[in-house]
Symmetry: C2
Subunit: 293 residues, 2 copies
């Protein structure tokens, strides 16, 4: 029997995830704020609905992939939680751990279950079923979500029963990738102004001691000064960095490197570069050194 899932949020990440779920044999009831985006999925058999609540199957499973905490909290309101009832909400958005804990309690009022399942991987990785999934929540809920995870990613890491834990990990990862971009950018600017092309520098490192996806992919983007089209637009990465800052600050953790990155992105926005990809901060580093990539 084909299981029907609710699916909410067809952004850069949501769209390929929805496609993988359909390829995995699930029927989808999809909602997206901009309704036209659902057309491609509808052509493949998905049902488009008019409100988030309409996407929910009572006692079933709903997946949300939304832009930020506010959007997620608005979508998963009391009415939504009541409509889902004893079902399962798999939340893939990058949000604060506090938001996951709040939603978990909201669902619990109606006997519902909540799993935080943020992922790592650019949209291309999602399309290739190469996402890495971080999951947290009650063991039985994660077990129930496992077939979905298998349909959309290459592996799941379990961070325990606190639903906020996977969000903490996701935030940490986005901070790490941003720090890697700044580090490569500073090293590249230093090298280029000393006669070593950044391509030579980064090609060496990303084929030896830094031969991992983050350095390889963002290193290539820095070498090619490829800041558009944005797979990860600056307003989104800055939103994440502010979540890291709040999460760290609430727990009394100074993160000087993070603060530097936030200032860098604020400068990009101050210059009207909202459309740039996260890797765009490398251009800021270069510009500060008098270079024009």
């Amino acid at each position: 029997m084909t299981e029907t899932l609710g699916f909410i949020g067809l952004g850069k990440l949501g769209m390929p995830v929805a496609e993988k779920l359909m390829e995995g044999g699930y029927a989808l009831r999809v909602y997206n704020r901009t309704a036209e985006k659902a057309a491609g999925l509808v052509a493949k058999g998905a049902v488009a609905v008019q409100t988030p609540v309409d996407a929910v199957v009572h006692g079933g499973t709903v997946v949300t992939v939304l832009a930020d905490d506010r959007a997620l909290l608005e979508v998963a309101n009391e009415e939504f939680c009541e409509a889902l009832g004893t079902g399962l909400h798999v939340s893939m958005s990058t949000v604060s751990p506090v938001t996951s804990r709040t939603l978990s309690e909201r669902h619990a009022q109606f006997g519902g279950r909540f799993v935080a399942a943020p992922v790592f991987g650019r949209p291309e990785a999602a399309a290739a079923k190469k996402l890495w999934i971080c999951a947290s929540g009650a063991a039985a809920s994660k077990e129930a979500a496992k077939p979905l995870f298998d349909a959309m990613g290459q592996g799941v890491f379990d961070f325990g029963e606190d639903v906020g834990a996977a969000n903490v990990v996701k935030l940490a990862g986005n901070f790490l990738l941003t720090a890697a971009i700044e580090a490569m950018a500073e090293a590249s600017a230093m090298a280029e102004k000393n006669g070593v092309p950044r391509a030579d520098l980064l090609n060496m490192f990303t084929s030896t001691i830094f031969n991992c996806p983050i350095y390889v992919n963002y290193g290539k983007a820095i070498v090619n000064a490829r800041v558009e089209p944005a797979g990860f637009p600056i307003p989104l990465i800055l939103k994440d960095m502010h979540l890291v800052q709040k999460t760290a600050s609430d727990a009394r953790v100074p993160m000087p490197m993070l603060n530097l990155l936030i200032d860098r992105y604020l400068t990009m926005l101050a210059k009207g570069l909202d459309r740039y990809d996260a890797v765009g901060l490398a251009l800021g580093v270069a510009e500060d050194a008098g270079l024009h990539w």
Copy 2:
């Protein structure tokens, strides 16, 4: 016919490199400031000499692996360059590009050749013949050094004819690895104070999007709070960071992330932690967050 090489500097890196060269069939004339360190090599057939100049074979090849610019400039003085004559000096120390250019000119006065060949790899990597070598200098000189490189490492990257170029790359790499330590440490402190053990966090990242030697090895050291014995003691990494700073500053390149790392290491030294490994800065990050690893 067995070729005899001069070899100067039996520190943490120099010792395993000298051993690889002997295993590769070279006869060595070794000099080390602390003479006793040569005993093991002498037992295997090396000849220990009393001064750097005594290690040099006129018209032959000499390898230097010294702690800093001053030591290298003192060893390779005019008398040394004259003794080497038209021979080849392979310099593996982490020094500034300016020092390499100075020495290249000093050798040229006597018809001698100079190749900068700093390497990446901890002492264990050197012992396993897993070093990555960055080479710069005249093409013919690098060609002459190639058999030595083959005997000590797993690969050579050629950074062109400017002898300083390989030093720029080495400095950039040491900055990148230090930045990676700080980033992992800040992420770990944030995660731990939010209930996620740093082992869970770092094990996930170093087996997925950061699965490269620098993150894997230093990540493991952070998880285990393993700051001794120091493969890369703080005074040495701080020396390197100051070289990066000078090289960047001379070329007018602001590196805010670098400045933060320098302050972090200065604090470690201010607290008398000279004996700690470079990864020790992670303890400083944790301590600032009220954690005790």
